[in-house]
Symmetry: C2
Subunit: 230 residues, 2 copies
Amino acid sequence: MTRVLHDGEALVRNASVAATELIREAILDGRLEPGTRLKEEELARQLGISRTPVREALLMLQAESLVVATPNRGAMVRVHEAEDLDDLYQLRALLEGHATRRAATRISEPEIEVLRESCERFDALSPEEDLRELVRENLLFHNTILDVAGSARLATMVRKVIELPLVYKSYIWYSPDQKRISVHYHRQIVNALAMRDAERAELVMKEHVFEARDLLVSHVRAHPLALEGH
Amino acid sequence: MTRVLHDGEALVRNASVAATELIREAILDGRLEPGTRLKEEELARQLGISRTPVREALLMLQAESLVVATPNRGAMVRVHEAEDLDDLYQLRALLEGHATRRAATRISEPEIEVLRESCERFDALSPEEDLRELVRENLLFHNTILDVAGSARLATMVRKVIELPLVYKSYIWYSPDQKRISVHYHRQIVNALAMRDAERAELVMKEHVFEARDLLVSHVRAHPLALEGH
DNA sequence: GCGCTGCGAATTGCATACTGTATGTTGCCG
DNA sequence: CGGCAACATACAGTATGCAATTCGCAGCGC
């Protein structure tokens, strides 16, 4: 039994939310692969807490649909089929496109500047060395737009929808070529926002999302079970 | 302390999900008004179970954003501001419009028939006597379209977004005049779907949702705190 | 009279013990 | 040798007790 969760004094505040965060992280960066069974007692031991907060954490993650559970048989890390992902990205395109459209009519000059700077940093990062940073910077870009869109509900929904596919190895997206393309789209989006061209901002964002989907879906179709844990 | 939940042998299966359903229902039909504090022990007593499954139920409802909780201070039924609701309905219009568009390209003849029948039943109901039935029939109509749209994720999202405002008294929507208008929109939507006119189906659905929003928001603005429990 | 402090009740957070259910295994009978 | 049934085990579901936190209130000093 390999120990995927390091326990300890990370559990300062609230045991259940801390557990939620730790497990979520472990899932998102692949230490807990799709299909892994999540046994309450084992997790509790590893985190140095009792089963109660672990159960609560698993419930939250279930609500986020990062894990699935069947009655009396426990939880496991959710496995996503290609169709699932396709579905998911269509939703994301719809929602994030809409958010971008809203952002275009609300964005301020300083916010535009923030986005431009994000583009520069993104551009400067190297896919080989700074993969994690690349993912982070990308999230920052998208989150900024969500904030500008000014709808809390929309933002949380999109964030949930963005989060899920991060289960999959991020190097899929960021081959040097892909990175260049992403940078390009980010810049085009910022330009459209700067011109307050809502229509076009939405359009480019949607295409950006669709291309991410294409990459991911084709990768999953090519390596269907490379994600299962054996 | 009035007893808003009737306990009993309804709790056959799984205490936590049963509790979730009972509490959700109580919130949705107003037995638990927005702002009510939800004390674990009290709910547990009323449902004849222990605090543990109640806690889990409250967590689920929190994920559905029917209740909000602050650490160490417990949960309460969520209060929605007018802006909140506005926001919510914009999302619903976007999502349900999209679902309707998808439905237009996928719907089969029997499904069209189901929708037409729903319209007839809806038309036949009286707002004064069969308010509950009216709400039910309306949900059936919308849910059918969601099913036809063929995206599980989209469907569950929309259902969550539809559910929330049901907290508010349904008679708002179904004055005799409003009912007539709703019937009209339902019929127009079915017609558009029958003609596989995706554009128009989406359009009408959106307008239908927007009008529901207008009614609700103006009502809430007019009676802002009529919902608080004092 | 006003505010600050400390105590106590109420209630949530967490741990642990017990109960119920599902599944895999063994041994018996056909 | 195969199938079925009783048992054993592992784990999820539930109850309960104790610890920790919050908040109201009283009493005290200023």
